[in-house]
C-alpha cells in the first residue's frame, strides 16, 4: 500500500425514480491496496461499481482515476503531471474506454463466453491491446499473427498463475463455478490493470474455495502490483483479506477503517453486523 490514491470517489449521488441509491458518497482507494466495500443488502454497493465503471451515469459527483502516462492517448495526455501520471475524471466516458485506463471489473454472476475455450476467454481481456487493424486480422497479416501469438502466451501465463492452465483448451461452458470465477479474474489480469474490481468474488464458492480466494487476491496484488477492490457479503473473506474497509448503508457513507475498526464501529454494527447476530 502506498499513500497515493488510485481512485477517488467524490460526492457521488444517483437516484432511480426518486429512490436515492447513492447519497453524496466519498472515499478513496490507495495504490496496491486491498479494499473492501460492505453494506447490507440494497445498500448500493453494486451501484457504486456501476457508477465508477460508467455503466450508470451518476447524477452528481466525480470519479477520479490515477492513470499512467503510457495508457493515455490524445487529449488526455495534456493532463499528465510531473510524476508522469494523470488524474482523470471517468464520469461521462464510454464504458468500453475504461479498461484501457487500467480499471477492470468482474461480474457478480460470472459473465464468460461458454462457447469459447478458457484461453480464448482470457484473451478477451487483452482486447484493447491489439494494435492490428480489422483488415490486418481479416487477411491474417504478420502483425495480426504476431500479436495473436504474443497475447496467447501471455494469457497462458495468467492461467498458469491462477493454477488453471491445464484447462486452457477446454470450453468454459460446463466448468465448475470455482474455475469460472478464476477465469474471470484471469481475464481482468490480462489487461494489466492498476485497479481490479471484484463484484462478490466469494458468492457461490465453498469454504475451501473461499480460503483459496483470499490467498489468490493477495497473490494478485503482489504479482500484478495493482489495487484490488472487492464488494463482498462473506464477512470472513472481507475481514481477513482487506486492509481497509468502507461501510455504506442506503447509499450513505457509514465508516471507513481497518477491519478491526469497522468491526468495533457502533454505527456499522447497528446497520449491518448487528443484523447478523
Amino acid at each position: 500500500m502506498s499513500d497515493q490514491e488510485v481512485l477517488r470517489i467524490d460526492h457521488l449521488s444517483i437516484s432511480f425514480g426518486g429512490l436515492k441509491a447513492l447519497d453524496d458518497l466519498s472515499f478513496g482507494i490507495f495504490d496496491r491496496e486491498i479494499f473492501g466495500l460492505i453494506g447490507p443488502n440494497g445498500a448500493g454497493k453494486t451501484t457504486v461499481f456501476n457508477c465508477v465503471t460508467q455503466f450508470y451515469r451518476p447524477d452528481a459527483g466525480d470519479v477520479f482515476l490515477t492513470v499512467d502516462q503510457s495508457r493515455l492517448s490524445g487529449h488526455d495526455r495534456q493532463a499528465v503531471d510531473a510524476s508522469g501520471q494523470a488524474r482523470l475524471n471517468l464520469v461521462g466516458r464510454p464504458v468500453h474506454s475504461i479498461i484501457r485506463l487500467g480499471l477492470v471489473r468482474t461480474f457478480q454472476n460470472v459473465e464468460v463466453v461458454k462457447e469459447l475455450s478458457l484461453l480464448d476467454n482470457v484473451l478477451v481481456g487483452g482486447h484493447v491491446d491489439f494494435k492490428a487493424t480489422m483488415a490486418e486480422q481479416l487477411l491474417r497479416l504478420p502483425r495480426a499473427r504476431r500479436e495473436e501469438k504474443l497475447y496467447r502466451d501471455k494469457a497462458m501465463s495468467v492461467l498458469e498463475f491462477l493454477g488453471v492452465d491445464h484447462l486452457a483448451g477446454q470450453l468454459a461452458g460446463g466448468q465448475p463455478y470455482g474455475v469460472l470465477k478464476k477465469l474471470e479474474m484471469a481475464r481482468t489480469l490480462m489487461a494489466e490493470p492498476r485497479l481490479i474490481i471484484l463484484d462478490e468474488p466469494a458468492a457461490g464458492l465453498n469454504d475451501t474455495e473461499t480460503e483459496d480466494l483470499s490467498q489468490t487476491i493477495r497473490q494478485i496484488r503482489d504479482n500484478y502490483d495493482c489495487a484490488v477492490w472487492l464488494v463482498e457479503h462473506d464477512m470472513r473473506l472481507v475481514m481477513s483479506v482487506c486492509e481497509r474497509i468502507c461501510a455504506i448503508s442506503f447509499g450513505k457513507f457509514l465508516a471507513l477503517g481497518t477491519p478491526s475498526e469497522i468491526q468495533g464501529n457502533k454505527v456499522v454494527q447497528e446497520a449491518y453486523l448487528g443484523e447478523q447476530e
Partner: protein, 359 residues
C-alpha cells in the same frame, strides 16, 4: 512449428494428414473438388440441371456464411438478407450491362454499395435489439423489394432484368466458368470468415453475443462490432447477389422476398450456428434436397410449397433435438474416433497458432 526433425521423419501421408488439419487447406481442397463438378457435367456424368442446383447451393452458402457471422457469432437477427442479395444482383447487372463496365466493376459495385448501405442501415437500426432489429431489417428488405419493382431504369421492374455471362480477362465465360468463379468466391469467403472468427475480432463478437455488459467492460466497442458484423453480412449478401446474376443471367423482384431470407436463416440454423462447413452443408440440405430429391418423390413431390414445409420442419427438429445442427451431428459421429483426452470441440484457433512463425 519449427520442428524440423518431425518433418524429416514424417511420412508423406502423415504430412498430408497434418496439412489437412489446417482449415485453409481444407477450404482449398474442398474448392478444388467442387471445381471438378463442371467437368463431370461436361463428360455427361452429371445432369446440367444438377450442376445448376449445386451452383445455387454454393451461392446460398456464401450468403449464409455472412449471415452466420451475424446470427451465429454476434447473436443479431436479420430478416432482410434477401433485399441485399437482390441489390447485389441488380447492381451487378446495371454495371455490367447498362453501363458496360465489365465483370470487375460489376462485382466491385455489388460488394461495395450494399455494404455501404448496410453500414448506414446498421448505424440506425443496430441501436434496437432482438425482435425490434428483426422488424427493422424486414422493413428495409421490403423497402428494397418495392424499389426493385418500381425503379424501372435500374431493374426493369416486374418484367425482370436480363443479363449475360460475364467477360473475364477478354474471355467469354459460360456456365462452367461461372461455376468455378462461384467456387473461388466461396473458398475466399470461407477463409475470410475463418480469419474473422479466429482471433481478436471473433472473440469480441463472441463476447458481445454472450453478454453485452461484459464485452463493454472488456473494452469492446459494441456498436462498432455490431456494425462490422452487419456490414460483413451485407458484403456476403451482395457478393451472393452478383454471383446469382452472373450464373442465372436474370433477376426478378419476386425472387428477393422474405421466403429467401427465411431460407437463408434455415441454412444457418440447420447447418449449425458458428460452423463454416456446417453452413455449406445447411445450404445443401435446405436448397438441394428439395430440388434433387423431394420433388422427384411420388405423391408429396407435387405438393406446392414443399421446400418451405421441408425447411420449416427441419428448423423445428434441429432446434428441438440438435441445437448445433449438422455440425453437432458430425461431432457426434466423429467423437468416438478422436484421441482420448481431446476436448470434444477443439479450442478455436488452436491449430492455426501452431503455424504462426515467430517473426
Amino acid at each position: 512449428m519449427s520442428t524440423s526433425t518431425v518433418t524429416r521423419t514424417a511420412s508423406p501421408l502423415n504430412q498430408l494428414v497434418k496439412a489437412l488439419r489446417n482449415a485453409h487447406v481444407q477450404f482449398i481442397v474442398f474448392g478444388a473438388l467442387l471445381c471438378l463438378l463442371p467437368f463431370l457435367a461436361k463428360a455427361g456424368l452429371m445432369r446440367n440441371s444438377t450442376l445448376s442446383t449445386l451452383a445455387f447451393v454454393l451461392i446460398y452458402a456464401i450468403i449464409a456464411l455472412g449471415l452466420n457471422l451475424l446470427l451465429g457469432y454476434s447473436g443479431l437477427i436479420s430478416l432482410g438478407t434477401a433485399g441485399f442479395v437482390g441489390l447485389g444482383a441488380y447492381l451487378a447487372a446495371y454495371f455490367q450491362d447498362d453501363l458496360g463496365l465489365g465483370f470487375w466493376a460489376a462485382l466491385l459495385a455489388a460488394l461495395v454499395i450494399p455494404t455501404f448501405i448496410g453500414l448506414l442501415v446498421g448505424f440506425v437500426s443496430l441501436r434496437v435489439r432482438s425482435i425490434y432489429l428483426a422488424i427493422a431489417s424486414l422493413c428495409i428488405a421490403e423497402i428494397l423489394l418495392k424499389t426493385f419493382e418500381q425503379l424501372d431504369w435500374f431493374t426493369h421492374g416486374t418484367a425482370g432484368k436480363q443479363s449475360r455471362f460475364p467477360v473475364l480477362f477478354g474471355f467469354q465465360t459460360d456456365r462452367s466458368t461461372v461455376f468455378i468463379i462461384i467456387v473461388v468466391a466461396l473458398v475466399l469467403g470461407m477463409m475470410l470468415i475463418h480469419n474473422t472468427v479466429h482471433g481478436q475480432l471473433g472473440r469480441a463478437l463472441h463476447t458481445m453475443r454472450s453478454s453485452e455488459v461484459a464485452a463493454q467492460a472488456m473494452g469492446v466497442n459494441v456498436l462498432k462490432y455490431k456494425l462490422f458484423a452487419f456490414s460483413m453480412a451485407t458484403l456476403y449478401a451482395g457478393l451472393g447477389g452478383a454471383l446469382y446474376l452472373f450464373f442465372l443471367r436474370s433477376s426478378y423482384p419476386s425472387t428477393w422476398n422474405l421466403f429467401m431470407s427465411l431460407n437463408i436463416i434455415a441454412m444457418v440454423v440447420v447447418g449449425g450456428l458458428r460452423s463454416i462447413f456446417g453452413t455449406v452443408a445447411g445450404a445443401f440440405v435446405i436448397f438441394a434436397v428439395p430440388e434433387l430429391v423431394l420433388k422427384k418423390l411420388p405423391v408429396i413431390g407435387d405438393v406446392a410449397g414443399l421446400p418451405y414445409i421441408f425447411s420449416g420442419l427441419l428448423i423445428v427438429l434441429v432446434i428441438m433435438f440438435f441445437p448445433n445442427g449438422l455440425k453437432g451431428l458430425a461431432d457426434l459421429v466423429v467423437r468416438p474416433f478422436r484421441r482420448r483426452g481431446q476436448a470434444p470441440t477443439p479450442a478455436p484457433s488452436q491449430p492455426e497458432t501452431e503455424e504462426v512463425a515467430p517473426a
